[in-house]
């Protein structure tokens, strides 16, 4: 591992979290080989008092996002450091959500000191306001789990008694014992139904109030009627009571609901966390010069903000001091940074690369360019929300059919069968129970869970619940170029240089965050070290240092003393001038993903139409399209033009999968029928897209489509199974042959069959 350490340690910037465990060292090595987010080498002194909350004990508390958590040793490092500080009463790291919660006695210590200490250990922290992220989801989740627990407890106890009763039918159980057991079942089941049925009752009520039915209406009806009918039967000492059916129905359905919820929650939190990390806190410079941490949403135009190197710019503004290069990939998709000096305009969300700058805010956070685009996306989202899921479509048909059948049974028995209204009612309720949608309730969540697990194995994160259905419907795939088909990072491809020159240049380049320097420093070999003095990065021009008394420059052509050329400059070259080696030129190119060609060929062979839409210049896009055999492509597209093109495709009847990564793709990611982003995409795009895939390969796109199609096939199979079971069971119920025993067995077996069928997805190649 020592060679790895050396690679990591060549940079002047402190490598963070790199000594706690092997996993960290290795991941650090990987980070240095790929394109990371810029590293904070400057831990800004700032005052997070805006985020300090006083809790019930009178202690002050602070909540922080923490980066670079890998392992148990990280937890220990942070917590032991904090607890050793005077006055700190509580320090707890939450590994699952990557958050840290600290509490200290008021006045005993300074939060900024604590933050600085943690950051110095190698864990960059950002304060946040807990109420911002206060999840309604959390309370809903807890309520669902509690309902699940209660219904599970009740179901098992009632089943205990029911099995006794069923055996009692076969042997000789007296009526008194049976009625006693019924009463005990009632005692357990009724409160449980009242509590655990809430999610369904409330949803059904809302649907009925707005004038239509959803799946929860027949469920609630079945459960309530079954309970009422059972209690009435118990009171007259009759033979059958259906308590077990109603509570077990709720139990199975709650399992399905909970799985569904978990699938959604896991996907949402990744994106919301990214958003939280980036834009919640900013540093404002007060007139006195004191720096304070504020919530991004509290920034007003005219405030002066401090943006450290490596941080993203919180709001649109004008630079008033400092000179640096800004990574504008967020907006333009370019990998080459733009120079910002006094007077330049900078935009929220872009990343400050080289050195700290001070800006004057020209907009509050909801009026920035970034938020305009987010709003554009939100309006497009409304259109998306109209997509009706397969399950809901089935429910639309299912509910009326079931109710009609129950009514027919009731009337049939009453009129034709000439039975009392109690018997008729009982039979029709039995129909309602047996057509129990518990298999239908599990049909989709079961498949979803297995599918997202399968996708996660392939490195794809599923973000919305209906993504699988939409993904299975597509017939066209539209790709963005930079960052999607390409790796989004320049690679050294050629030029004129000697090995010595390369070695020297890459050693010098490791001191800069500029994408071209990073590309060079990736070729660094560990065997030669140079003792550079006076390293200085001049934004817009390059890197300069002194070695053995000679001045070395790595950067733009003119700055390195070459005569200017007027031939076409692709902007992707660096020159080295030094007194020690021959002057050298390095050429870079944004390389395609290793399996881009193979994936696109597979997509075409599978019958999809593939297109390329890019904001880059014509010649580059044409070259890429030819290299990948893509016939339909457009270059120099503005974000609005991309959206327009997608709308043309939609009007032609094509369903489109959009794969893109930059902010300039975000509106089209929302406008498309479904979208995917690579994980190196900007946060806004990750929020906009439905699936996120990791790694350097494009293959996950193919795998996702395959899994989605298989999943939808299995869901349809599940529905067929559920309906087949109904077709078999309903006549039995209508004939009055369904006892609670048969109902319970039927329900359980149909749910089991549906779940086992869903597991078949695991066998997909």
């Amino acid at each position: 591992m020592s060679a790895v350490h050396q690679t990591a340690a060549n940079d002047d910037t402190p490598r963070v979290g790199a000594d706690c465990c092997d996993a960290a060292t290795f991941s650090d090595y990987l980070i240095s080989k790929s394109a990371p987010k810029p590293i904070n080498d400057h831990i800004p002194e700032c005052d997070p008092s805006a985020f300090v909350v006083v809790d019930d004990n009178g202690d002050e508390t602070l909540s922080l996002f923490v980066e670079n958590l890998h392992c148990a040793a990280c937890i220990h490092k942070i917590e032991s450091f904090l607890l050793a500080q005077q006055g700190v009463t509580k320090a707890r790291v939450n590994m699952s959500t990557k958050r840290l919660s600290i509490a200290w006695q008021a006045g005993q210590t300074e939060p900024s000191k604590l933050m600085h200490g943690i950051a110095a250990l190698g864990y960059p922290v950002t304060p946040y306001d807990p109420s911002d992220l206060a999840n309604i989801k959390d309370t809903e989740d807890k309520r669902l789990v509690s309902a699940l627990a209660v219904s599970g407890f009740a179901a098992s106890n009632v089943m205990l008694l029911s099995v006794a009763i069923w055996s009692g039918h076969a042997s000789d159980m007296g009526e008194g014992t049976r009625t006693l057991f019924h009463w005990i079942s009632a005692l357990i089941a009724l409160p449980a139904v009242a509590y655990a049925g809430q999610p369904f009752f409330q949803s059904a009520y809302k649907a009925l109030k707005s004038g239509h039915t959803n799946m929860d209406v027949p469920i609630s009806l079945a459960v309530i009627l079954a309970s009422v009918m059972s209690i009435q039967q118990t009171m007259v000492g009759a033979e059958h009571a259906y308590f077990d059916a109603s509570i077990t129905l709720l139990f199975f359905l709650l399992i399905g609901r909970y799985l569904d919820q978990r699938a959604r929650a896991k996907a949402c939190s990744a994106a919301s966390q990214l958003l939280g990390l980036q834009s919640k806190a900013a540093i404002v410079i007060e007139p006195s010069g004191h720096r304070r941490s504020v919530r991004t949403r509290d920034i007003k135009p005219g405030m002066q903000m401090y943006v450290a190197a490596g941080e993203s710019i919180p709001v649109d503004g004008d630079v008033i001091r400092g000179r640096s290069e800004i990574d504008v990939a967020l907006i333009s998709g370019e990998s080459i940074p733009r120079l910002a000096e006094t007077g330049s305009q900078v935009f929220a969300g872009t990343v400050n690369l080289t050195g700290p700058i001070e800006i004057q805010a020209t907009a509050s956070v909801d009026k920035t360019l970034l938020s305009e685009i987010v709003r554009l996306m939100e309006t497009a989202e409304q259109g998306r929300a109209k997509y009706v899921r397969l399950a809901d479509r089935i429910a639309g048909v299912y509910a009326p059919v079931v109710h009609v059948l129950a009514a027919v049974t009731f009337l049939g028995w009453l009129i034709i069968g000439d039975a009392s209204w109690q018997t008729s009612l009982m039979t029709s309720i039995a129909v309602l129970i047996i057509t129990c949608p518990c298999a239908i309730g599990l049909a989709v969540p079961a498949v979803q869970v297995v599918a997202s697990g399968r996708l996660l194995q392939a490195g794809v994160l599923l973000k919305s619940a209906d993504a699988l259905e939409r993904l299975a419907e597509i017939d066209t795939v539209v790709f963005d170029k930079t960052g999607t088909l390409t790796l989004g990072q320049p690679q050294l491809v050629g030029g004129t240089y000697t090995d010595d020159a390369l070695s020297l240049a890459s050693a010098l380049a490791s001191h800069s965050r500029h994408p071209l320097s990073r590309a060079l420093s990736r070729t660094l070999s560990a065997d030669r070290t140079y003792d550079f003095k006076n390293i200085c990065e001049v934004p817009g021009y390059g890197l300069e240092a002194e070695l053995d008394g000679k001045r070395i420059r790595l950067g733009r052509r003119e700055w390195c003393g070459r005569p200017p050329e007027d031939k076409h400059n692709t902007n992707m070259e660096l020159y080295l001038s030094s007194g020690l080696v021959k002057p050298a030129r390095f050429e870079f190119q944004d390389a395609l993903r290793p399996d881009a060609l193979a994936t696109i060929d597979s997509l075409r062979r599978a019958g999809f139409k593939v297109e390329l839409l890019s904001g880059d210049i014509l010649s580059v896009v044409q070259k890429t399209a030819t290299a990948l055999n893509i016939d339909t492509w457009q270059a120099e597209c503005l974000p609005a033009e991309k959206v327009a093109h997608l709308e043309t495709l939609a009007a032609r009847g094509q369903t489109v999968l959009m794969v893109g990564d930059g902010l300039n793709d975000a509106p089209s990611l929302v406008a498309a029928h479904i979208s995917m982003s690579p994980s190196n995409a900007v946060d806004v795009s990750q929020t906009a897209s439905d699936l996120i895939f990791q790694g350097r390969d494009l293959k996950p796109v193919l795998i996702a489509i395959r899994v989605a199609r298989a999943a939808v096939r299995l869901v349809k199979q599940n529905f067929v199974l559920a309906i087949a079971y109904n077709i078999f069971a309903v006549p039995l119920a209508m004939a009055g042959l369904v006892t609670p025993l048969i109902a319970a067995v039927a329900m359980s077996s149909s749910s089991l069959v549906v779940t086992l069928n869903a597991l078949r997805l695991r066998m997909l190649r």
Binding site: M1, S2, C21, D22, C71, A72, A73, I75, H76, E79, S80, V93, N94, M95, S96, T97, K142, V145, S146, A149, V150, F153, S156, N157, L160, L161, T177, I184, I188
Partner: protein, 55 residues
């Protein structure tokens, strides 16, 4: 058969106890940080990690 008259309440009481414990666990956030709990299992009593890495 009369033994059933007090066996059933006992069974229900035990089940209810389990239920109460589960609900308490959910409410008091025991199930919040599953990854952290997994990692903390590797810590010593004072929270330290005994390290034996010597590459």
């Amino acid at each position: 058969m009369d033994v059933v008259i007090y066996l059933i309440p006992i069974a229900i009481a035990m089940g209810a106890l389990g239920l109460v414990c589960f609900i308490w666990a959910v409410r008091s956030g025991q199930l919040e940080d599953m990854d952290g709990a997994a990692m903390r299992a590797l810590q010593n009593d004072d929270g330290s990690i005994s390290s034996d890495s010597d590459d």
